[in-house]
Amino acid sequence: MIDETTSRRAALKCLGVGAGTLFTLSSGVFGAVDLTQAATVTQIGTPLFVQISDTHIGFNKDANPDVIGTLNRSIDMVNALPQQPSFAIHTGDVSHLSKAEQFDTAQQLLKRLRVSELHVVPGEHDVTDGPGTEFFARYGKPSNNKGYYSFDAGGVHFIALVNVMSFKAGGLGALGDDQLAWLKDDLSGRAASQPVVVFAHMPLWTIYEPWGWGTAEGDQLAAMLRRFGSVTVLNGHIHQIVQKVEGNITFHTARSTAYPQPTAGNGPGPGPLKVPPDQLPTMLGVTTVAAVSRTGPLALIDSTLA
């Protein structure tokens, strides 16, 4: 019989974990563990889902002329997991310019993911036509074209939010009153012991206001989530990992599969960052989320293409 710890360690090796970091939460205390040692210090549960973000299909500039290739490599990485997560989320910017052919290409590529479901929220690049016609034609069904909806899986309550449709001129992403009212209703009466995962494209907390890296109603959202024992907030948009823990809430942004962006305030704006070719794979990747226990905090495992 194969020792469980050994098989988990082997599984982690399959993730290409040399560059990875495992984030764990214990009683609200946040700890980062190098993945090469993770199997010996913590129990990693079955992958619950995988997060892919900012695929930007249609992008073809110097920062990465082959975004299809890097998305394919990201998908291969997920498909090579020894235990497949049951579903995937895409936290937006599926396309670069909201064009039908870009969405079509992305859809064809993402079909290769060995998961039963793909949940997608729009990024601002996906809705540059205003109403998001192309995006919602493909991904609007679960939300009746509103973009925000919730579902339960593996005992966890998942909430998909949209903060790119009613942006505030001059400022941050926004949820809007209708969505906040819906969310209040969705959370009311829900047991505080149920783990909650919230995902949206733009960061749901303010990372860097001058670049619009945040959401106007972030504080209201955090107040609504505070009573829950385990809350994980996942975003994309900034093409790099930034995390924060506030009480029982873990905020975490994912890498892009397409191209990196500068760190906050470093340069004229949040545009594509050109790095030496050998560095690019270390700055692209996906996030795998595992349930450690039924009601406990979730483990976030960031894997790069390197």
Binding site: T128, G171, P268, G269
Partner: protein, 106 residues
């Protein structure tokens, strides 16, 4: 020694290559380094304004009151709109709403 005629031709070529679109077309707004330039442009009624994105990141031109809206403009893409009514038209980039500017039509 460069002949005089060639020298003049070279000077003209250098001047032309240095000319930015905003100078070539008074009704042009460029998007560069996550800003519109100029940030305020005054034009007569009936004028057509053209926006050109010089950044490697796409931008849009979306008027606050809904009068006009471009598609996502990739690098070197342009968008034009003809202003038929007087007024002040504030607009933003819907991808980077920190980018704000205005067209004043008189």
């Amino acid at each position: 020694m460069i002949p005089k005629a060639l020298r003049h031709a070279l000077t003209a070529a250098i001047l032309l290559s240095c000319a930015v679109p905003a100078i070539a077309d008074p009704n042009m707004v460029v998007m560069k380094n996550f800003d519109y330039s100029p940030m305020s442009l005054t034009v007569p009624v009936g004028a057509t304004v053209t926006w050109k994105n010089l950044d490697g990141e796409p931008h849009t031109v979306v008027s606050i009151d809904g009068a006009f809206r471009s598609q996502a403009l990739d690098q070197n893409d342009t968008y034009s709109f003809t202003f038929k009514k007087a007024g002040t038209y504030k607009y933003v980039c819907s991808i980077h709403p920190k980018m704000m500017a205005a067209i004043v039509v008189k």
